[in-house]
Every structure is written in structure tokens, then in C-alpha cells.
Symmetry: C2
Subunit: 379 residues, 2 copies
């Protein structure tokens, strides 16, 4: 009678209706039915990304869209500023380096947000930095980065673009691309969009499209100029992951029906309840100063073997959460609350965390976290 | 009461059981359940690709795997021989050119197979060609290329690899990678593998892996060395299209249960029946000399507006077939018979073709094609 619950920060759990759509017969991707579906999805994608620009759909993980962001906005030997405060910040830099872009790292202690003053400093005094890369939400640490403040700097510089990894931010909290003057926004399907992994998304503003015209970095599978020509007609350059796009249309309708502001407010409430619940259990948050509403990272309390937590909670309670990655292995655990989650999901996962920690020797006061979650969600 | 039937050469129709698997809750891609699924699928992939090499799974269309074939076997300025007898031959060359590889085109009239003697000629006399690119089955024309004969040439050359696009060949007819000495084999999920589009596959032999060690072409999302390190452990470099991999495991089991030889024999029978059925209708095949068992390309008969055929058969009978691409637009139509197709499917589609052609003014003897299909499939 074991049931399974998914609270990893991607892939996240899917609505039953989306799962059902995935089992519909395949639609021919060059026929009129598919064209109509992609066109409907495109309109809602613009709302979700808070942009008037085309949001292009790629058949890849979100990392593919990150690669496309680099290969379309830069040229060989260009210099980029990479804000690295976690595993996904590192990824931006690794992509740049793989393509021969010169990386200036702005290293931030994992668990902290970057200080916009440091970004400003790196970009002044005759800086030749052509693009800044940052995560809106750094999934490996649970940190929200100050994208608005960074965009205030880059939008005033004539030749410095801002590319934002919004993989666990778009549809979670506001990162209004056009209003803030963000040049490139990337996301992925398996997070707040309530879909399986397999689609990447990218939107680019006018400055980024101008760069794409002259970028000399090689690309073929990720060819945004071609996608931008085809997708408004309801076509894609190569055969796309059809079932995910059919499901995308419905997931975006669901977000529209709830209302984007309400979606943001729900994430805020679930995240706050999770954070306060953890504190009520006597636990310390890993990113208390600038937490992302996508997932909550919690320090493993003294006396508990951190590497055992994800294994124990999964094997004993059927609950999947994430541990820490690379240098955070064994030091934190992470609970997702982005996408298709409601208050009772958080009550449930908090309850499983309490039981797990007690099993592993932490003197948790059973019920303290759950009660706090309930109080906040009832409020 | 309209039902829809899919006979495009990809995506192809899916077994009901596969559709049901797609609607199962998402499995966490870093957990033990997913690892076991990927490992099971890996073993069956080797059987399907007729190789002892790792068959790596990529979250992309087949074109992504083609790009990976180029970026891992060549370096900047290397020279490649591209056999171009259709749209997908062109694609090999376009990928090479996008990455700065010097392309020598071996152009073949569309509808014809390449003459292996021409390949031999291009590769002798101090040729500096580092790789030959070809389609085992050129989907745009319905031609089967003489891969065995080409491999007999390349395997004897110390520094000339053979990369084969097996997207509509793997699981359709034998292209035994190891036995023939093919260096790189690429495929995609939405063809004979009876899955939705969204997964690319690539297997590389020892010579290709040695090249991958020193290739200087930039790559990040498609990083085969990294995938080869992770996938034997049941992991992927980036979040994969989980539902498709769960379904892949089952589709490969289904192929194993039928038996690879039987799968090839079934495709041979369905393809032969389709070809003979078309001839019995008085139609001419576009690739009569070297037809692929994946799809049958038929010349549009005089007096019929070829561009109307796919539209009419879809709108009137709910049947999706493909027209011609680029310079073949309006000149041919294509019927797929790869993957989850049985004799009655071919009876059905032949019947729809007969009715369509009659509707469009061709004096088809209704039933002549269907009768021939039945005769062959009953035989």
C-alpha cells in the first residue's frame, strides 16, 4: 500500500489531467492540429514569461536552452560575467567555456545572494563584459538572486546583456522580463510548468536578437533564428516532443485559469509555510536571507547523517526529496514547492520530514513543524 | 465519428500500452527506480542497435544525435564526405558546415541510392576525408543506401570513419553496427522504436571514441564522454525526458518479445505489400531500385494535384500521410510502415489512398491495391 510523493526540485509532480493528456495518440507535427496547439501555447507562454517576445520551445532539457542563450548572444573570445553561487551558476560558466567564451567568475558563497554592488563594480571601469549570466533561483542552494537590481545595471549599459536562468523562477515568483529589461530568459518544463522534463524555453529581447544576427559561435540543433521564423507559424525546426507540447497548452491554460498573480501568491504561501515549519522544528535554513519560493534548503542538524535523509524518507515513507549537490552533499536537504503543490502537500511532506529526522536521531518535537505549516496556510 | 490514423514517416503511431505508460506519475531521475529502468533499457538498446557499444540516450530529436555524431568525431577544418540523396543527407552536410567542417558533397539524384564505387573513388588517391556521413534510410525519398558496401570501404581506411543516420533504419531492417564495422550509428525514438519524438540515440565504436578524445569542436549539452561515464550507472548528464525513457524500456521489451529478426521480417512484408499494392494501382514508385522498408514514396500520377493528396486524405478520411519535401513537394507522397504497424493497417491505408486518388481524378480501379496488399500479406 505504499504511495509515492515527489518533492524534488524537478521533476515535480504533475496534475492528473496533464498525465492523461500524455497518453493521447500522437499528433502529426506538420499537420493543422499541432499548429493550432503550438500557437495557443505560444500566446500563454508570453503571459507566463511576462514578455511580448516570442518564447521559443526547444526539445531538450533546460540546459539546452541555457546553451542556446550563450551560443546566440556571444562570439568567440567575448568576455562574460558569470555569477556563481551554486551548481547552476557553475553551469553557465561551463557552457561559456565550452564555447570559447572568456569567463570572469563572480563567486558568491553558496547559500548567499550576490551583492548587486559587486556586479556594478565588475561592469564599470572600461569593462569589456558582453553578457552577465545569473540564476533567478539557484536550485542547488534555494537562493533567490537580485535579478531586478542586476537588470537595473545592465539595461543602462549599451553592450552588456543580461541572461537569466529562470528554470525554477518562471511561474514561481515575478521576474518580468520586459518590465525589468532582461535580455534573455530561459526556463524548463519540469518545474512550475507542471510538465515532464523534455522541453526547454527561451525568450530574447531586441538587444539579444541583434547579437544573434552576428554571433559566430557554432550551433545547429539549437538554432533560435530558425525557430523564431517557424514557431509563429506553428512549426518547429525539428520534430518536437509532441505529447509534451500538447500537455504544455493545457498546463498554461491551468496557470491562466488560476491567474499568474495567484500562482505567485500560492508559491509564496507554500514556501513561507515550509520555511517557518522547518524553523519551528528547530532547524536552520540554508538561505535565510534571500530564499527562493521554488524550494527550501535546510541545514542538516548536528548529530544526523545528512546523506541518510533522502534515502530514509524515500524508503520508509515513499517521499522523494533532494539532498545537497557537490560540496553541499550531506549538508543540506531540499524540499520543492513549485508547480502543482497545495497546502496539504506541504503538511504531508513536513510530517514525513519530522518522522524521518526523529528516526535518524534528531530530537524533533513531532507535530511542531506541521502545526506551523497549518497555521500559516490557514492564516 | 471520425477516427484518425497516422502513417507519416515519424512520428508514427504508438501501441496503447506505451501510451498508458506515458501517463504514469513522474519518476525522480536521480532515484533507484529510474536507474534500474535506464539500465534495463540500455541492455535492450544494444540488441536493437546490434552492437556491444553503449547506446547513449539523449533528450532531443534525432537531429541532436546527428549533431553529436559530428561534434565528437571531427575537428575544426577536417574534411567530410557527405552522401546527399535527400533532405536528411543535406542535413548531415549542414551540421558539418555549421561547425566549420569542410564538406565534400557526393550528390546522388533524389530517389536513387549512391553507387559504392563513387564513394570508393572519393576516398582514394590521398583523400584527406576523415568521415563519411550517410543515411541508412533516406526518409525524404524512401531510399535505402548501401551501408554495408560503404562500410566495407571505410573500415579498411585507417583514418576515415563511417557515421550512419539510422533514424528510420534501426529496428526496421538489419544495419548491424559491429558486424559491418560502422563507427557511429544514430537513431530517434519516434520511428521503429514506437515512442513519441523526444529521444535521440547514438552508439560509437572504438575508432569514434578515440576521435572524441581529441575532437576540438565545441559541445556542452551533447557531451557523449560524460554520458558514457554516467549512463552505465543509470544516470544522465542532465534531466532526461523521464516518461519517454520509462516507455522506452517497455517498447524495447516488446521488440525483444517479437524478436528482432521477426521485426525485420514484418517490416519487409508490410513494405513489399505497400509497394506491390501501389503498382497494382498503376502507380510508379519513386525509389524502385533500392527501396527502404521504412516508408514507401510514390510518384503523384499525371493529372492529379500532388499537393492536394495529403490534405484530402487527412480531411476526408482522417489519415495522415506525408507529401514530398523541398524539391519533391507535390511530386510524391509517402506512406510509413515502420514501428507499430500490422497487415490491417496497410490494408486500411491502401484503401484510403485508392479512395483519395479517385476523388482527385485518378482513374483508380478501387480495390486493386487493397487486393494486392491482402494477397502478399496472406502469402
Amino acid at each position: 500500500m505504499k504511495r509515492e510523493y515527489l518533492f524534488a526540485p524537478g521533476p515535480t509532480q504533475l496534475p492528473e489531467e496533464i498525465l492523461r493528456i500524455l497518453s493521447e495518440p500522437i499528433v502529426y507535427h506538420r499537420g493543422p492540429k499541432f499548429k493550432a496547439i503550438l500557437q495557443e501555447a505560444r500566446a500563454d507562454l508570453k503571459v507566463l514569461f511576462q514578455t511580448e517576445q516570442d518564447v521559443l520551445v526547444l526539445t531538450s532539457s533546460g540546459t539546452g536552452a541555457m546553451e542556446a542563450a550563450v551560443t546566440h548572444t556571444l562570439s568567440r573570445g567575448d568576455r562574460a560575467l558569470v555569477i556563481e553561487g551554486g551548481k547552476f551558476g557553475e553551469r553557465w560558466g561551463e557552457i561559456c567555456q565550452a564555447y570559447g567564451v572568456d569567463v570572469e567568475w563572480l563567486r558568491v558563497p553558496w547559500g548567499k545572494a550576490v551583492d548587486p554592488a559587486d556586479v556594478r563594480k565588475a561592469l564599470t571601469n572600461g569593462s569589456d563584459i558582453r553578457a552577465v549570466f545569473v540564476q533567478a533561483s539557484e536550485t542547488s542552494t534555494g537562493v533567490k538572486q537580485p535579478v531586478h537590481e542586476i537588470a537595473e545595471i545592465t539595461r543602462r549599459l549599451p553592450d552588456t546583456l543580461l541572461a537569466v536562468d529562470g528554470i525554477t523562477a518562471v511561474g514561481v515568483f515575478p521576474v518580468p522580463m520586459d518590465a525589468w529589461g532582461i535580455d534573455v530568459m530561459v526556463s524548463g518544463s519540469q518545474k512550475a510548468m507542471m510538465l515532464p522534463p523534455g522541453l526547454g524555453f527561451i525568450a530574447m529581447g531586441p538587444r539579444a536578437w541583434a547579437r544573434a544576427e552576428r554571433s559566430d559561435l557554432p550551433k545547429f540543433y539549437f538554432n533560435l533564428r530558425k525557430e523564431r521564423e517557424l514557431q509563429p507559424k506553428g512549426e518547429t525546426n525539428f520534430t518536437p516532443a509532441v505529447p509534451f507540447i500538447v500537455a504544455l497548452r493545457r498546463a498554461l491554460q491551468m496557470i491562466r485559469e488560476e491567474g499568474l498573480e495567484q500562482v505567485f501568491a500560492r508559491h509564496e504561501r507554500l514556501a513561507k509555510a515550509t520555511r517557518e515549519g522547518m524553523r519551528a522544528l528547530g532547524l536552520e535554513l540554508f538561505a535565510p536571507e534571500s530564499p527562493s519560493n521554488a524550494c527550501t534548503a535546510v541545514k542538516v542538524p548536528a548529530g544526523v547523517d545528512g546523506e541518510k535523509i533522502p534515502k530514509h524518507i524515500r524508503e520508509t515513507y515513499g517521499v522523494t526529496i533532494a539532498g545537497g549537490q557537490s560540496k553541499l552533499k550531506g549538508k543540506i536537504f531540499r524540499i520543492a514547492h513549485l508547480g502543482y503543490y497545495n497546502p496539504f502537500d506541504m503538511v504531508m511532506v513536513m510530517s514525513a520530514v519530522e518522522m524521518t529526522l526523529r528516526d535518524l536521531g534528531y530530537p524533533a518535537q513531532i507535530g511542531a513543524g506541521v502545526r506551523k505549516v497549518q497555521e500559516i496556510l490557514a492564516g
